[in-house]
């Protein structure tokens, strides 16, 4: 039976990714971590989100992994095989060592694996799909609202920033130089916060009208395809994830 990525249920993506997180963090040697990273990247590629993953790595886990590698490569404590040394003062000793490079690479791969596992869980799942999946798992409606809205909030925030900036320009405030634009940006923070604080009660009333706290089943306009095979797969993968957690704690 052929499975294409569009027929994968959002819950399946979430279970796949979240089960991969403990696997990404358990103790593995460098080779196993590299293989795991390749496997996880293959899953991301199959999900069709490789481009978004590239941005995710570039902005998030990538710099952390590179920094962790660099720190350990040049200052690993207890190194035996030293390639180069730099001692700017008597108490500072930077050493590029084999052990440091290996440990740094292991840590870097651990960070990339963790980020890639999270990418599998969240990149193929849109905000609407996440809401549907979490509602189906009977999570509190307030928590679902907070998670989903927080994901969209930066976009709304940029709209508010745009409004504040536009009003500044229309009032004739100088924005011709980088310095004046920076000054405007600083002054607009206070305005932005006041704007958000003033609007929160209207938003709350809107939430109440929409029945956020109302108990009972939620009906969605859109449903997502699910199959018996995916249901079984979710249980198996989820169980494997829990076993990995238990093994990781006991080991």
């Amino acid at each position: 039976m052929r499975i294409d990525r569009f027929s994968i249920n959002p819950k399946t993506w979430l279970v796949l990714g979240l089960s991969a997180v403990p696997l990404a963090l358990i103790s593995l040697d460098i080779g196993a971590r590299a293989v795991l990273l390749l496997l996880l990247i293959c899953v991301v590629a199959w999900s069709g989100k490789l481009h978004a993953y590239g941005r995710y790595v570039l902005l998030g886990v990538g710099p952390v992994a590179v920094t962790a590698f660099c720190i350990q490569a040049v200052s690993f404590v207890g190194a035996q095989t030293i390639y180069a040394q730099w001692t700017p003062t008597s108490f500072l000793n930077f050493r590029l060592s084999k052990e440091g490079i290996l440990y740094g690479a292991t840590l870097g791969l651990q960070i990339l694996n963790f980020g890639t596992a999270c990418a599998i869980a969240f990149l193929p799942v849109s905000a609407g799909e996440l809401r549907w999946a979490l509602t189906d798992w009977k999570l509190p409606s307030r928590l679902i609202y907070l998670l989903v809205t927080s994901m969209n909030a930066p976009v709304l925030l940029s709209r508010y920033v745009g409004l504040v900036r536009e009003s500044q320009v229309r009032r004739g405030l100088d924005d011709s130089t980088v310095f004046s634009r920076s000054k405007l940006a600083l002054t607009s923070i206070g305005t932005l916060i006041n704007l958000i604080l003033l609007e929160h009660e209207d938003r709350a009333q809107s939430l109440e009208q929409r029945g956020l706290d109302r108990p009972g089943e939620r009906v969605f306009l859109r449903t997502y395809p699910d199959t018996q095979l995916q249901r079984v797969l979710r249980w198996i993968v989820g169980a494997c994830g829990i076993c990995t957690c238990i093994w990781g704690i006991l080991a």
Binding site: P22, L25, I26, S27, Y56, L59, G60, V61, P63, V64, T67, A68, F69, C70, I71, Q72, S75, F76, V77, G78, L92, N93, L102, Y103, T106, L107, G108, I111, F114, C118, L130, P140, R142, L143, L146, L147, S150, M151, A153, P154, L156, L157, I189, G190, L192, I193, N194, I196, L197, H200, E201, A204, Q205, L207, E208, Q209, L212, D213, G248, I249
Partner: protein
Amino acid sequence: MASRTTSGQRLASSEAGLGNHSTTSVKDRVLTIIGALLMVITYGWTLLSHQGQQEATSGNIAMPLVLGYFIGALLIILGNIKRIPLSIIALIPFAAAINIVLGQIVGISPIPLYLDTIATVLIGYLAGPAAGAMTGALTNIAWGLTINPTTIPFAGGAALIGLLAGYAARAGFFQRWWKALIAGAFVGVIAGFVGAPVAAYVYGGGMGVGTGSIVATLQATGQSLFAATTLQSVLSDTIDKAAVFLIVWVLGRGIPQRVKDRFSTTR
């Protein structure tokens, strides 16, 4: 509680959710206590079981550490979510967005600070400890979901910062700038200790260019990764949280009294 009916649609009374606290059930308190205990136990276990061990041979720390902190934060969220009025629930996503935008900008700069808790502390100051804790935890989870998953394991520490900011506001630490500075530094020391194990064992001290440089320098003096990261975390967090509390004090002075009064019931 009386409910009103508009065009056949049954609506709850606005006083029920918008401004007042709902009472905390025993189940919610138990969840909060278990969550806090789980985080304390995880931190204690990390310290006791891996003290003095060479980092390269203590690879099994990362998973239980992340799991303990994350589940702890999740339980605290679940235990407090019903307590928070809808008006604050509606505010939290925007607070999280401010934190994410500022944190992301500062994170890629060479400044050895974070500045990703300004809105958390502001909400703690305006709306109380529970709302502050919720904003902190939610910021890190939403940040992880959208841009940077490395923030997810710090959700527990962020919740603690929001909680302590709320208690600091209740104790009157935001009345004078120097009091805010002292409270911020104190919260920073605690946050530094709580966040250090994750920063060390999960991220190898590489949470940012500026902070990473400090860890590398401290390790070059012969400190272990955990000791170097703890020193860096305490140092950076103390300065960072002192600065954040001071910024919130300044912002607080700019917020009109009528806006502050809207939060008086939740505080």
